[in-house]
């Protein structure tokens, strides 16, 4: 791209033409006019935009989003989080798992007993799975909605109350598993045992969404060892009385039911792919979304 015609002098003259008193090819008043125009124009455009967004907000319900087809069926997520679904630690080196236990501490803070004392906000929903508790229509008409208490103690060895390291220091890592919150979502327990692996049959109960963790690969089955499940009444599932969720506005203090999974006998030094699945009629899995109704995690426990 030759540019012979516009030599340096041309550029300088373009930036400031002292003869015509032009800066970048425009005089002062010309700049003023065009800038004023654009200020008005963009002001007007911004006004339109803000107006339309206001209309959007006015027509949107404060309690429930218009569409939920993308967020349901729910995801199954776990704490601690894993980078690229991998977790690796040395059980006699606290530094390698410090981050995880901090995350779990932080996550479980809401579940401390002292935070669930307000009777206006919390109620006792029993210690055994019961059917869902409906709390009226999804709006302010019935006043605030109470939520069920969830006792951190139920998480047993994984509650962090007895073992501050959630088993990590012994090479028996805990994962806290939850079903992602969805407003008004009512999970349905499995009707049959057909799709559930035999080992999990014992955890199938009415009013409970069971989960089960197993090695992904057949040959790793032996290396996985014993898996312990902690939850309400040691059920290893999500009790239905915590559902439905009434949304952030009506239940800001909502505690979703948790299940803790502890791998107590992992083979040290070998990487294990473990898959945990929740089972229910309206819990679906998806090849692309590896956190929908299930999750996978690779665990490697090392020794120094």
């Amino acid at each position: 791209m030759s540019r012979e015609k516009e030599s340096d002098g041309g550029w300088k003259k373009f930036i400031w033409d002292s003869e015509k008193k032009e800066f970048l090819g425009r005089t002062g008043s010309s700049w003023l006019k065009i800038l004023a125009f654009y200020v008005v124009f963009y002001g007007f455009l911004a006004g339109i935009f803000i107006g339309t967004i206001q209309v959007l907000l006015l027509t949107t319900s404060s309690y429930k989003p218009t569409y939920q087809d993308r967020v349901a069926p729910p995801g199954l997520s776990h704490t601690p989080k894993t980078l690229k679904a991998e977790i690796e630690f040395t059980h006699d080196d606290p530094k390698t798992y410090e981050e995880h236990i901090n995350a779990m501490d932080k996550f479980l803070l809401k579940y401390n007993e002292e935070n669930q004392k307000d009777l206006l906000l919390f109620e006792d929903c029993g210690s055994a799975p019961t059917p869902p508790i409906m709390r009226g229509s999804l709006d302010q008409s019935d006043g605030g909605k109470r939520v069920c208490r969830f006792n951190r103690e139920w998480l047993g060895n994984c509650s962090g109350l007895h073992d501050r390291t959630y088993g990590y220091s012994e090479g028996k890592p805990c994962f806290i598993v939850k079903i992602n919150r969805i407003v008004s979502y009512l999970p349905q327990p499995p009707q049959t045992n057909d799709s559930i692996p035999p080992e999990a049959h014992e955890r199938v109960q009415p009013n409970l969404i069971p989960i089960h963790c197993a090695a992904k690969k057949e040959e790793d089955k032996d290396k996985l060892g014993q898996v312990n499940y902690f939850g309400m009444a040691n059920t290893g599932g999500f009790p239905l009385q915590y559902y439905p969720y009434y949304g952030k506005l009506l239940q800001p203090q909502y505690l979703q039911p948790l299940v803790a999974v502890q791998f107590t006998n992992l083979t040290v030094g070998s990487e294990l792919r473990i898959e945990c699945k929740a089972y229910g009629e309206n819990i679906k899995y998806n090849d692309k979304d590896r956190y929908q109704g299930r999750f996978e995690v690779k665990i490697l426990v090392k020794v120094r």
């Binding site: 791209m1 540019r3 090819g25 006019k33 065009i34 125009f37 654009y38 124009f41 963009y42 455009l45 339109i48 935009f49 339309t52 967004i53 959007l56 907000l57 949107t60 309690y63 429930k64 989003p65 218009t66 569409y67 939920q68 993308r70 967020v71 729910p74 995801g75 997520s77 989080k81 894993t82 980078l83 690229k84 679904a85 939850k178 992602n180 919150r181 969805i182 407003v183 969720y245 949304g247 952030k248 506005l249 239940q251 800001p252 909502y254 998806n286 692309k288 979304d289 590896r290 956190y291 929908q292 999750f295």
Partner: protein, 1027 residues
Amino acid sequence: MGNREGRDQYELDATSEHGGKKNDKKGKKGKKDRNLDELKKEVDLDDHKLTLDELHQKYGTDLSRGLTVARAAEILLCDGPNCLTPPPTTPEWVKFCKQMFGGFCMLLWIGSILCFFAYGIQAAVDDEPVADNLYLGIVLAAVVIITGCFSYYQEAKSSKIMESFKNMVPQQALVIRDGEKNSINAEEVVVGDLVEVKGGDRIPADLRIISSNGCKVDNSSLTGESEPQTRTPEFSNENPLETRNIAFYSTSCVEGTACGIVIKTGDHTVMGRIATLASGLEVGQTPLSIEIEHFIHIITGVAVFLGVSFFILSLILGYSWLEAIVFLIGIIVANVPEGLLATVTVCLTLTAKRMAHKNCLVKNLEAVETLGSTSTICSDKTGTLTQNRMTVAHMWFDNQIHEADTTENQSGATFDKSSSTWAALARVAGLCNRAVFQAAQESVPILKRGVAGDASESALLKCIELCCGSVTAMRDKNPKIEEIPFNSTNKYQLSIHRNANPSESRYLLVMKGAPERILDRCNTILIQGKEQPLDDEMKDAFQNAYLELGGLGERVLGFCHMPLPDDQFPEGFKFDVDDLNFPTEKLCFVGLMAMIDPPRAAVPDAVSKCRSAGIKVIMVTGDHPITAKAIAKGVGIISEGNETVEDIAARLNIPVGEVNPRDAKACVIHGGKLKDMTSDQLDDLLKHHTEIVFARTSPQQKLIIVEGFQRQGAIVAVTGDGVNDSPALKKADIGVAMGISGSDVSKQAADMILLDDNFASIVTGVEEGRLIFDNLKKSIAYTLTSNIPEITPFLFFIIASIPLALGTVTILCIDLGTDMLPAISLAYEGPESDIMKRQPRNPKIDKLVNERLISMAYGQFGMISAVGAFFTYFVILADNGFLPMRLLGIRIEWEDKSLNDLEDSYGQQWTYEQRKVIEFTCQTAFFISVVIVQWAILIICKTRKNSVFQQGMKNNVLTLGLFEETALAAFLSYCPGMDVALRMYPLKPTWWVCALPFAVIVFIYDEIRKVIIRRSPGCWVEKETYY
């Protein structure tokens, strides 16, 4: 034959102005390449001044036996073959590379390389880099390669048509060597060879004629003279181009025979010098490529400005250096309009096709537009403006000038044929005529038939054939008894026929020739079929008619006859043409007939169209000033009422020197005068005269004229067919050669070829060129508009940390998918007003893409479009649970793959994949919103000033484009499998309509703007927004 006197006058004229001024010319310009300068000088030959003896000495040729074979072989070895060195052809791969790396392509290549670079950075930093930049780089490269191949293919196609023009038949020449006549390949002719030529031959080299027999050559391809020129051994003019004793290479011998010594061969011939001059000229950029370069500067400026500002901004916002660099590259690349190269190429191709349909073949795609910017057309006369065919234009009989029909299709005026004088005149013209139609042409229209014979006799033959029926039948009825052919001493032609008319005498003497000579031989004149004495009054009338016709640049012939009295010339009388035993004086004058090479029918109209389109039409011809002026007046190059200095002088009856040259708008410049002008004088001349005719110009002068116009900033088109035009054709911004009559050299030098040789096709070219310029503007405005909604998502991704609203794939879907056909369809858009009524664009001010276009497309339309699309984006996210406020600053969490419980505004938790799905749904919706606003933009861009309601929706391709882009958008969104292939997701119907109000807003906004521009021209709005 015929009007010798007239011809002599012309030449005398030429001589007087030429005399002795040749030497001043040399060394005028020093700055240019010396070699080229050498070629630009006038032909320097002195062989025509030499006597035969001197020639013999100079060339060592025996004037009867020729060279010896051995000597000829020696010279051949030394000088090389007698052929023109073909212009250096560009190798195919260079042409291909030019398509690949020219102007616009470089922009895309740089974009592509930047993409790969950015991907490299990402790959080095991240284990799992986002492949978007890689794909974008590949797509950009693919776009360039595909478009490059396409335009290469297009140009190869038109150059193939060019190839087919080439005449591959090897020429033969008859040379005398060692006293023997040999027919050898013309390439083997050497300097000093003795060559014989006869009617129909091409002259094999520059010849000095040593003997001739009625030889005439057609010099039109070299000098532009339409009449065949006599060649004799006599030295008649200082100027080698005008002297009669030199015949030039590649001109043709029309009739007679001649023998001459070869004085120059190959590239040294006059023709060769011109061809070398043409191929040595450097060609400037086409106006369009200058425009595109300017456009690239603007685009790059905007891109770099945006990129650098956001680079700094992202550093301030706390991004790392590498991230900021990736952003910088991303923004710069996002500014590249990927589809525009293809759009522009297709638009130009479409126009080139349309022009080819209208008989304008364009060699170089970018030249399509050049005619549209043309402000001056320098047209050759012969063959371009005229039919290149002598035709009877006027007759004078019964003391009255009658106009004959000269139009090509015989639609013109006719005259009263009832007078018996006309019957007599027709009989004389038909009988005293040696021209005959060539055989087997009954189905061909008379005017198009081939004729064997002299040009003026052919003209007479055709005229009589048209008016009075078969001339052959007439000749059969009145068989020729005896004849005296034309010779230059008599200046008449005479024949004696048996008279078929029983009421008249047995024998009829008919004669034609130079009018004044014929008149001298007459003492009576035929008026209304009655012989009347030729008195002084009649002679004055004749004189006036002769002058008037001569002043029209016509070649006038006089006709007379005499019925030979039966008593003196009984049946079987032996006529003796040597003794002249019959009267050749005291004849009866019948009338005059005047011939001219008439202008083509469509030319006057075309010239006036060019005029009203603000284009200067200049005639540059090698022909004589009088003829040139007459034709110029005939076609309107000198318009009615405009006078030259000479005209004013004649009207006011004062010497030419006393007329103020500023008073005359028109002027006729003789080549001899031009030769002595300095370039300042020439500039002055070109500036102050609107209607100029250059006559008797040499090829070098044509070049100087073109350069003169270009110095004034004009964009010059040159039309021509001869070799003499080729340097000018090459130098011109657009050279237009003639497809039928044009010489190979001229076609090679030209950028465009008129397949029907019709000047009127140029008007079509101008119209198409201007239209495509306007439509390209519209197309670019349309394409650039979508750039803003394509860039803003990335900008907001960086500064507001919201999820990316439009991804690379969707950007490419817009640029290379939905925007494509609508942008191309704008090439089919009709003109808004009469584009042939406005001035040609000023290449300094009227740019293809100016800051107003950018301001409109980017600053206004694009912004509204982006706002509309962002609104859709926020609607979808809000509908799914993410209200706008939640989105601000969400980027880090949103992009965190390990975070699978991201909370929305309602407390719902989203896995990574779930939110990616709505992100991609948003991108699909954003894409569709852009398409919807682009509906309005497309309708807006149809016009720059008019309302759509004035313009109408007549452009069906555009309507199709609207449906096509919608259908494509819907297909991309709803076709199963798209979620996997392109990550595009189906939309809910309500999401389609979100952008509609913005389409309406932008439409209304622009209609208001156009109303203001129409109502108050020149107002601030027009100055700032009329692109």
